[in-house]
């Protein structure tokens, strides 16, 4: 088994081998290697973070993803040093930093509400970390110019934060976070306060910038789309625990459990008991028999299990259509047909009370009426079986 670290080394070396990218700048740093070891944070006796361990290799963009209350922000604030962990180690570049005060950690951070200094101009805001780190005055000017150029805000030096739009303020916050060349950048829902279009363009920009600079980024969000778009790796958290840590593809195509399956993307989930050994095993559910994928573990036999089917893997056919015995099928009544631009979402009321979702290409012809009985089919190989 190749370790995460080996894989990453391969990846980072490919990134470095890439031809000179568009903002070749002296802001470039080697990213920090961040290791969290069994971090626990208790409030009273309630754990906000419950034994999280993460290995974040240098230069990676990692997103802590989770619903509110999952502990993702608490974890980020522990890394920043605003909170002390009840137990566990934070190791950055092989140094345990739990006892290092916030202002000596040399970390960059972007906050959700920008947290710009309202009484300082853009230039003074960006100069602030340089002054704190005793960068000689002569060098500051150039570093500020470079940081502002990196976020496309050259010329805004003398503006006050309140004279900028939300997107511009967040760019200033980004410039301020990277100007002192930290090796680690933390982002606390950086795009949460922005509207959708701005959010999407900034997602791409932040991703490009972080790649160009080579720094390690830990980003917190509850927006799974943002996590999928931006991250090298996603750490999915729920109830203070790490649910799954892997690439966006891994989390989407191979969720390790139901929580992960529900959180990343839409899912149709069936629960039941497995009968039979790997090949040809079926799951008996209240909605009928479902064929397990061949990849399913033999250990599931006789146990409670769940099958996850992504809506895009499901096809709608007429109730009268002949169905191949090797595919799964589920009868139901079409109750909604929602056109969503590039895709079409179809909701089907399963005959046994479950509601199923189908996603299809909007450009395909759709020959069904709402209220019509239909059958949903999917290939067993497109589904995923897991222990309930």
């Amino acid at each position: 088994m190749t370790t995460v670290r080996d894989e990453i080394q391969k990846e980072t070396s490919t990134v470095e081998a890439m031809p000179a990218n568009e903002t070749e700048t002296s802001l470039k740093t080697a990213g920090a290697w961040v290791q969290l070891n069994d971090i626990v944070k208790l409030y009273g006796s309630t754990p906000a973070v419950d034994g999280v361990s993460l290995d974040i290799p240098p230069g990676q963009f990692v997103t802590l993803l989770g619903a509110s209350g999952s502990g993702k922000t608490t974890l980020l604030r522990i890394i920043a040093g605003f909170l002390d962990a009840t137990s566990g180690q934070i190791v950055i570049d092989r140094k345990e930093i739990s006892r290092v005060p916030v202002h000596k950690r040399h970390i960059g951070m972007v906050f959700q509400n920008y947290a710009l200094f309202p009484h300082m101009t853009v230039e003074k805001n960006v100069a602030f970390p340089l002054a704190r780190q005793k960068v000689p005055r002569r060098a500051r000017k150039e570093m500020i110019a470079e940081a502002l150029a990196a976020v496309h805000l050259t010329g805004y030096e003398n503006r006050l934060p309140r004279e900028l739009s939300g997107g511009q303020q967040q760019r200033v916050a980004l410039a301020r976070a990277i100007v002192a060349r930290p090796r680690l950048l933390l982002m606390d829902e950086p795009l949460g306060a922005l509207d959708r279009r701005l959010r999407e363009s900034l997602q791409i920009e932040i991703r490009r910038l972080s790649r160009d600079l080579g720094l390690t980024v830990i980003n917190v969000t509850h927006d799974q789309e943002e996590a999928l778009t931006m991250s090298d790796r996603i750490a999915l958290l729920a109830d203070g625990k790490l649910v799954q840590y892997g690439t966006p593809e891994e989390l989407y195509s191979n969720p390790s459990n139901e929580v992960a399956a529900r959180f990343i993307g839409e899912s149709n989930i069936f629960t039941g008991t497995v009968h039979g050994s790997p090949r040809g095993a079926t799951l008996s559910t209240s909605a009928g028999q479902i064929i397990l994928p061949d990849t399913a573990s033999a250990e599931l036999n006789g146990n409670e299990a769940r099958i996850v089917v992504r809506p895009s893997a499901v096809t709608v056919v007429k109730a009268s259509a002949a169905i191949d015995q090797s595919v799964c099928s589920m009868p139901g009544t079409l109750i909604a047909n929602i056109f969503a631009g590039d895709s079409r979402k179809v909701v089907v009321d399963g005959d046994h009370g479950s509601e199923l979702i189908v996603r299809m290409d909007a450009s395909e012809p759709f020959g069904f009426e709402v209220g019509e009985p239909v059958v949903l089919t999917w290939k067993p190989s497109a589904s995923l079986a897991m222990v309930a």
Partner: protein, 302 residues
């Protein structure tokens, strides 16, 4: 994955522990906790000590009979009644005049708001003493109002306005109305105009919309402002002293008289405590219903 991390951590060189662990774990006493202590001591020395001294004086100079002397004093008993009656009337007058003013300020156009707010502020920032002095000039027997009325031939003899209850109530209301106006205005600003519009769309006349929507919703502000004005009026000294009749003694005057004319500091202290007690009682009882913060929340900076 956990296996990977464990292996990496084991690779770490042991780090010299800079801060001894047990010290680092004790929460540092917050900087902001202790910077307040000198300020609290200052307040205690400069403000609480004088109040405590009044308390001790009232019981020891010459003795607790100060309280019975105060209560048995006809002047003081009458002053209590006169003052409470005055405070009550002034509060009513303030509330009555505040409603149209605050309403016009909360709902009026830019120009009228600027005029009303400007006038209010100029008046507010002219000190009580100066405004009371102005009313003296205006209400005198030979003052502006009487002269104008005589010149217009409306009256032959000057009307006695100064040194009456009328002049005191007028002067007090003039000084205190800004407080009720500002609390009411703040309250009315929180009432969305859409509510009245909705009521009108449903068929309510403007007056009905006001009576059924704005008035009930503004009552907390009116109550807070009214209590504030009532309490302030109880302790007033300057205005009753300048505009009031010498026959009517108000509490403030009675206290100062005891101390400066009769040289009975102990009795004055006892009377002060009775006044303070009434004020605190009103505030506490009213605070139970509308919140003490709401009553005092108003400050001149708003």
């Amino acid at each position: 994955m956990t296996a990977v991390i464990e292996r990496d951590i084991e690779l770490l060189e042991p780090q010299p522990d800079k801060a001894p662990g047990f010290l680092a774990r004790i929460p540092r006493p917050s900087f902001f906790s202790w910077i307040g202590i000198p300020a609290l001591v200052f307040m205690a020395l400069v403000f609480i000590v004088p109040l405590v001294v009044i308390l001790t004086k009232s019981f020891t100079d010459p003795g607790p009979q100060n309280f019975s002397d105060a209560v048995n004093s006809g002047i003081f008993r009458r002053s209590l009644w006169t003052t409470i009656k005055m405070a009550f009337f002034v509060t009513i007058v303030c509330l009555l005049v505040s409603y149209p003013y605050a309403y016009a300020m909360a709902r009026g156009g830019k120009l009228i708001v600027a005029v009303l707010l400007g006038a209010l502020m100029l008046s507010f920032w002219t000190s009580t003493l100066v405004r009371t002095y102005a009313w003296q000039i205006l209400l005198n027997n030979t003052g502006v109002i009487n002269k104008t009325l005589i010149n217009l031939g409306l009256i032959d003899e000057p009307i006695q306005m100064i040194r009456t209850n009328f002049s005191v109530y007028l002067g007090m209301a003039h000084v205190l109305a800004p407080f009720t106006i500002l609390t009411l205005y703040a309250q009315m600003r929180t009432i969305k105009p859409e509510l009245e519009q909705a009521a009108q769309v449903m068929g309510a006349r403007p007056s009905v919309a006001f009576l059924r929507i704005t008035l009930p919703l503004s009552l907390p502000g009116a109550a807070a402002g009214g209590i504030l004005v009532f309490v302030m009026a109880l302790g007033f000294y300057i205005t009753p002293q300048i505009l009031g009749s010498s026959r009517d003694t108000y509490i403030g005057t009675a206290i100062i008289q005891q101390v400066q004319v009769f040289l009975k500091t102990g009795v004055g202290a006892a009377e002060s405590l009775i006044l303070l007690g009434i004020v605190l009682l009103v505030l506490l009882v009213a605070g139970k219903f509308i919140g003490i913060g709401r009553i005092l929340g108003l400050n001149k900076g708003e």
